[in-house]
Point group: C2
Chain length 157, copies 2
């Protein structure tokens, strides 16, 4: 299995049991107080560890992360790999095509942050993952970033 059919397989797997998202992680060493952390993740139960390893081998992407709830994640976290795999599988994605497009836009935009306003605009873009992924766990959204930037005087109201 190679090339287009491998990409289509990965698209199907990701649509079935995967996720594409960006988190904003509080980190004071960053200029605007938050790290932009993108992820493409394939999930499985512990019992299917070998399957994730096989996908890792065939695709050449990601590392395994063992959660403490009986799940394993094959996580792709580095930007060049995320960009590459999303471009490869985008034509075949059905369920998560919007998330993939949004991720590619976030990765592009995040290279061109020249001001706190730019960073806020990026945070707004990242907020969209919450709706697309029906996520109830997102804690850091644009308002939190805005409040931080104001509190630090990086942004003026």
């Amino acid at each position: 299995m190679k090339d287009q059919t491998l990409f289509a397989y990965l698209a199907g797997f990701l649509d079935g049991d995967g996720s594409i998202y960006v988190r904003l992680k509080p980190n004071k060493t960053y200029k605007y107080g938050f790290q932009v952390a993108p992820s493409v993740v394939f999930f499985q139960k512990n019992s299917a560890e070998w399957l994730l390893k096989e996908i890792q081998n065939r695709s050449g992407y990601g590392y395994l992360r063992y959660r403490n709830d009986g799940m394993i994640e094959l996580t792709i976290g580095d930007r060049p790999s995320i960009k590459k795999i999303l471009q490869e599988i985008l034509p075949f994605l059905i369920g998560k095509q919007k998330q993939a497009q949004l991720m590619l836009k976030v990765l592009d935009d995040s290279k061109q942050i020249a001001s706190a306003d730019d960073f806020l605009a990026l945070a707004k873009l990242i907020d969209q993952f919450g709706e697309l992924n029906y996520s109830k766990k997102r804690k850091i959204h644009t308002q939190v970033v805005y409040d931080y930037l104001i509190s630090k005087g990086i942004l003026t109201p």
Copy 2:
């Protein structure tokens, strides 16, 4: 998206969040007391109903089943369709290749049941789904079938 890449997509989806299994359902109208019920199922949360519908449209397979635990299943239950889709996606399956091969064998063998012994042999084959799928819910296994056949005098010990 068509043909090989659609099949590869379906294989990935099924490996990610699907299941291939056969159940033996107690049914006294059947000669050996049990109905052989094969299924190929794609799972998703309610929120992704549109995705299962899209897969149904593109593939032409299955019907939607709304569970009462917030999950939806796209279920393929008729034998000709199961045989067809498994033959299409078999080259691309990684995680559930063994289940697919076992299913094809069960479908073939179940056409040639000429005796209670044949039916017991088929039940043994079906037992293998339990191990392959790490299933803890299987209640009807070969021993249950055997006990029934003995109790009815269909089989002699």
